[in-house]
């Protein structure tokens, strides 16, 4: 391993090293998706691109939001807004485990000193209509990543199969940097002219969003927004494939999927506000799943989803 084993000194250095590592391994380094999502998997670079036969290799940081996990920035490791690092490679290469272990090495986890284990973890996302098999990866008893071979997404069988890696960045970084509280972790280099901790950047926003998510978000408006997003998603997909203006075949899988993402996040907010009963909960999840399935159905009819006009003849 040519990577330096020197420990990273900050949260951002861990991210930068992951970016450099996966770039060197041939992944396209994408930017975060510009919408509120619950996890890196929601980025269309994962959900939609895992469908169809076109090869794909991408890595990116994704800010993620889980409104129910808000703790006003007080809990040492629970946040309503956090970062995931996501890698998706299709087809999954035979040496994916070794590639992954190499990435741990790159961020300062020396496999000669640590105990790294692959512990069974079947992944399922009821809202995405997706499932896969894999592991949670443990380092000295701590879960540092999820490792999944996608089998189905949006109700479609994945063929070829994508390999997905998800790193929970805060937890991983806290471990590597030896921080006991997420807010104490150095965000940039501690010797920088303006050293910033994670708390300097996010403590206030955690408070603001916790209050917003639990007590202030306008539930009437959110319920209305959910209905609107759902309606628009279906409406976009119901339009004919041929664009009357350009005469081209343009299926709006991504704009429709944006509405699916929106509905999913609104549902999470409503859940945090405690206005969704146990029975309603299932119904809402089912409605989001219906949207993601419809988007998946649409995506496989597009070029990126493996559609070719000749093959369809």
């Amino acid at each position: 391993m040519s990577q330096t084993l020197e420990k990273p000194r900050s949260f951002q250095e861990i991210i930068l090293r992951l970016q450099a590592y996966w770039a060197a391994k041939g992944c396209a380094i994408l930017q975060p998706y510009d919408m509120e999502v619950g996890a890196g998997t929601f980025h269309p670079a994962t959900t939609l691109r895992s469908l169809g036969s076109t090869p794909w290799a991408a890595a990116y940081v994704q800010p993620s939001r889980r409104p129910t996990d808000g703790r006003y920035g007080e809990n040492p490791n629970r946040l309503q807004h956090y970062y995931q690092y996501q890698v998706l490679i299709k087809p999954s290469p035979p040496e994916l485990q070794e590639l992954y272990l190499g990435s741990l090495q790159a961020i300062g986890i020396d496999a000669k000193l640590h105990d790294i284990r692959f512990v069974e973890d079947d992944w399922e996302s009821p809202t995405l209509g997706a499932w896969g098999l894999g592991w949670e990866v443990w380092c000295d008893g701590m879960e540092v990543s999820q490792f999944t071979y996608f089998q189905q997404v949006g109700g479609h069988d994945c063929a070829p199969v994508s390999g997905e890696l998800t790193y929970g960045l805060e937890r991983l970084a806290m471990y590597i940097l030896g921080a006991d509280h997420v807010m104490d972790m150095p965000f940039n280099d501690p010797s920088a002219p303006t050293p910033l901790t994670y708390g300097d950047v996010f403590k206030q926003t955690e408070e603001e969003y916790a209050r917003h998510n639990f007590d202030a978000a306008d539930t009437e408006k959110l319920l209305r927004n959910f209905e609107e997003a759902e309606k628009e998603c279906h409406a976009l997909l119901d339009l004919p494939a041929e664009d009357p203006k350009t005469g081209k075949r343009i299926i709006m899988a991504h704009p429709a999927y944006d509405q699916c993402i929106k509905a999913s996040h609104i549902f999470n907010l409503l859940d945090a506000r405690g206005v969704i009963s146990v029975t309603e909960r299932q119904a809402y999840i089912g409605r989001v799943r219906a949207l993601s399935k419809a988007c998946a159905d649409a995506f496989v009819q597009t070029k990126a989803g493996g559609y070719s006009a000749e093959a369809a003849q």
Binding site: N77, G141, V161
Partner: protein, 686 residues
């Protein structure tokens, strides 16, 4: 004769699947080999997180040549039949033999199956096993279509004899069979060749892989207990955890670590659950205080720093976990101290139990009302039972149980004590879920018993009322388990109650008759394990008071014991004979022979003796039955055996003299009455 070694090398196999998978591999391969004529002396299967291994000793080097004779059509059968036969048998007409049979001349074919070398047979059998392996869940990877539990990387398959090893030629979905494998993922990752099983297991051990799961488990347990013992501590035994941990490592290294001082005062169940569920740690206990003071974790490698980094990491992760647990515990205790324990149940009004059966709070209200009704029967104080019913589920709203659902009830007990409630109420929090399985302990404290019964009866009557009964293998609400729980609660505590009456106090609208027969079915299954036959229970069910489970089971046990004696068994035969004769006569004569017989019409000594014996039996049975002393009643009944036998031996019931005949039939009627007073013996088989 050669030995066969197979290794299927993959990415990490879930721990819970390994043992079964090794057995399945052994069964599929050995069955296939034997079916093809390849017998062997012995076979052993092994599993590690990354490999399934099968070693077969002394396998036939080739399958024996077999000759099978097959009978064909008659010589004069249509040509079509003959061609079909020839095709099926794979022989030519000239090779057929003609034999004379009763029905005429018939063709016979001799089908010779030539023996084949072992290697191609093994290849076929192994490929079939790989392609049809019964994994609980399997997956595809990359661009392939093969399914395995996780990506399969290499297949080793060699036939080894003294003169060397032969690789069995096979390729499965691009994976070519070879003679090489790899050692420990981190400690010895390079590939190496092997020649036979001994070579393989030795080289694996040098490459930091313990092949045998039992050896790994023994090593872990031995090392863990030694390390604990050295510090005057003991490891809390957990066989399930041991097996699981042995399935997570190829090279187990046991490390004992400390629990932060802040957490040592958490309830031991909280420490144990948190460590086991999240970290797969063993708890290490101080035998003097019963407190959990340390933990044992099992790493998968040796390190230059003797595991110091690994242990420090594990301790840190545990601290974060326990900080969460302590946070929940402190919050819960604060809530209880501020508002009382009952108040903790308030949010359950918003938790749906079932959309047709209302909220958890509705359910608690019903259970409390039912508990009041049942309390006097069990001998519990009605107020205390009602209070218990109102708080036993309060911990479902606690932060701790939200995080660790498996601690439901256990936390309730702690919180009830903190709230100053009685021990009986606190214990009911923990014990009212019991018994869960057929071997789970049954509560005996009256308050726990009342709430346990009320809880289960509300569940059963509720789901009966909305017609969500178990069907076939589907029992999503575990209603069979609930019914068995009720039965065991009643029997263990010797409770006397009319189940129908109690059920009528349950959820409105349940068909109590149908539910009672569900109970009877569960009871049959339960008693079957005791060796009590279905028909014995049927014979008792036909009697009055069949909804009193304790009485019913007492009667069934007595009858079952009686049937096990020679007298009892013979008396039943005598009873059946009497009953058959009576039924026929009654049908023919159109009367019921139930007028008392008169001894003055008795002619034979055996007949007179039967009168006396019946008098004696009746005199003994009546008071015994009144006392519900079924054993005495039934042995009095069984004592009739010799008199009944002697009677049938000596006397012709259907005598020519009509008065004598009717008297004898009425005498049989007495036998019937005496026996049927004990149980409905007509329901017995045989």
């Amino acid at each position: 004769m050669p030995d066969l070694l197979i290794e299927l090398f993959s990415e990490e196999i879930p721990a819970r699947m390994q043992k079964r998978a090794a057995e399945d591999l052994k069964k599929m391969v050995t069955d296939g080999l034997v079916e093809a004529g390849l017998t062997y002396a012995s076979a052993g299967a092994f599993a590690t997180p990354r490999r399934l291994v099968l070693s077969i000793e002394d396998l036939l080097a080739q399958s024996p040549t077999t000759v099978e004779e097959r009978k064909g059509p008659r010589v004069d059968a249509p040509e079509k039949a003959l061609t079909g036969f020839l095709r099926g048998a794979g022989v030519a007409k000239e090779d057929l033999e003609i034999r004379d049979e009763k029905k005429g001349q018939v063709y016979f074919a001799k089908i010779t199956k030539k023996g084949r070398p072992a290697a191609p047979i093994i290849a076929e059998v192994l490929e079939n096993a790989i392609r049809n392996f019964p994994w609980p869940k399997s997956m595809r990877w990359g661009t392939g279509s093969l399914k395995w539990v996780r990506p399969l990387h290499s297949i080793l398959c060699i036939l080894s004899a003294e003169d060397g090893a032969e690789v069995v030629a096979l390729e499965v979905d691009g994976i070519k069979v070879g003679k090489s494998t790899r050692g420990h993922r981190f400690m010895a990752p390079d590939a190496f060749d092997v020649n036979n099983f001994d070579d393989y297991s030795n080289k694996l051990k040098s490459a930091f892989v313990m092949l045998d799961a039992n050896e790994r488990a023994d090593h872990i347990w031995h090392d863990a207990t030694n390390q604990a013992f050295a510090q005057g501590l003991e490891v809390v035994e957990d066989k399930g955890l041991l097996a699981e941990v042995a399935g997570l490592v190829e090279w187990p290294v046991v490390l004992m670590g400390n629990i932060g001082a802040d957490f040592l005062n958490l309830p031991p169940e909280v420490l144990q659950t948190s460590m086991k569920e999240h970290q797969k740690f063993f708890s290490v206990r101080n035998p003097k205080t019963g407190r959990i003071e340390k933990f044992v974790t099992v790493a998968n490698r040796e390190t230059a720093d003797q595991g110091a980094t690994i242990l420090a990491g594990n301790e840190k992760v545990l601290s974060a976990r326990l900080a969460d647990a302590k946070f929940f515990w402190d919050n819960d205790i604060r809530t209880v101290e501020r508002e009382g324990f009952e108040a903790m149940a308030a949010p359950l009004a918003n938790v749906t139990f079932h959309n047709k059966l209302g909220s958890q709070a509705d359910r608690i209200g019903r259970i409390a009302a039912l508990a009041r009704e049942i309390a006097p029967i069990v001998g519990a104080d009605a107020d205390e039972a009602e209070l218990a019913a109102k708080v036993v589920k309060a911990d479902l709203s606690s932060e701790m149980v939200y995080e660790f659902p498996e601690l439901q009830g256990i936390m309730g007990r702690y919180y009830a004590k903190k709230a100053g409630l009685s021990d009986a109420v606190a214990d009911a929090c923990r014990d009212h879920y019991s018994p869960l399985g057929p071997s789970d302990d049954v509560p005996t404290d009256p308050v726990s018993v009342v709430v346990a019964l009320a809880d289960k009866l509300d569940t059963l009557t509720g789901f009966w009322a909305i017609d969500e009964k178990p069907t076939g293998s589907k029992d999503p609400f575990a209603l069979r388990r609930a019914a068995l729980g009720v039965i065991r609660l009643i029997l263990t505590n010797d409770l006397r109650l009319s189940l129908s009456a109690v059920l009528s106090n349950g959820y409105e609208g349940a068909d109590a008759t149908d539910l009672l027969s569900f109970f009877h079915d569960r009871l049959k299954v339960f008693l079957k394990d005791e060796g009590i036959r279905h028909d014995v229970i049927d014979a008792c069910l036909a009697m009055d008071g069949a909804d009193d489970i304790t009485l019913l089971v007492k009667r069934a046990r007595a009858l079952s014991e009686t049937l096990a004696t020679e007298d009892g068994q013979n008396l039943i035969q005598g009873f059946k004979r009497a009953n058959n004769i009576l039924t026929q006569a009654e049908e023919k004569d159109g009367v019921e022979y139930s007028f008392g017989p008169d001894i003055k019409f008795a002619e034979d000594d055996a007949e007179k003796a039967l009168f006396t014996a019946l008098d004696t039996a009746e005199a003994a049975i009546k008071p015994a039955m009144a006392d519900e002393d079924f054993t005495s009643a039934m042995s009095a009944m069984a004592a009739l055996r010799s008199s009944v036998d002697a009677f049938f031996e000596a006397v012709q019931v259907n005598a020519d003299n009509d008065v004598v005949r009717r008297n004898r039939l009425n005498l049989l009627g007495r036998i019937r009455d005496v026996c049927l007073a004990v149980a409905d013996l007509t329901k017995l088989d045989g």
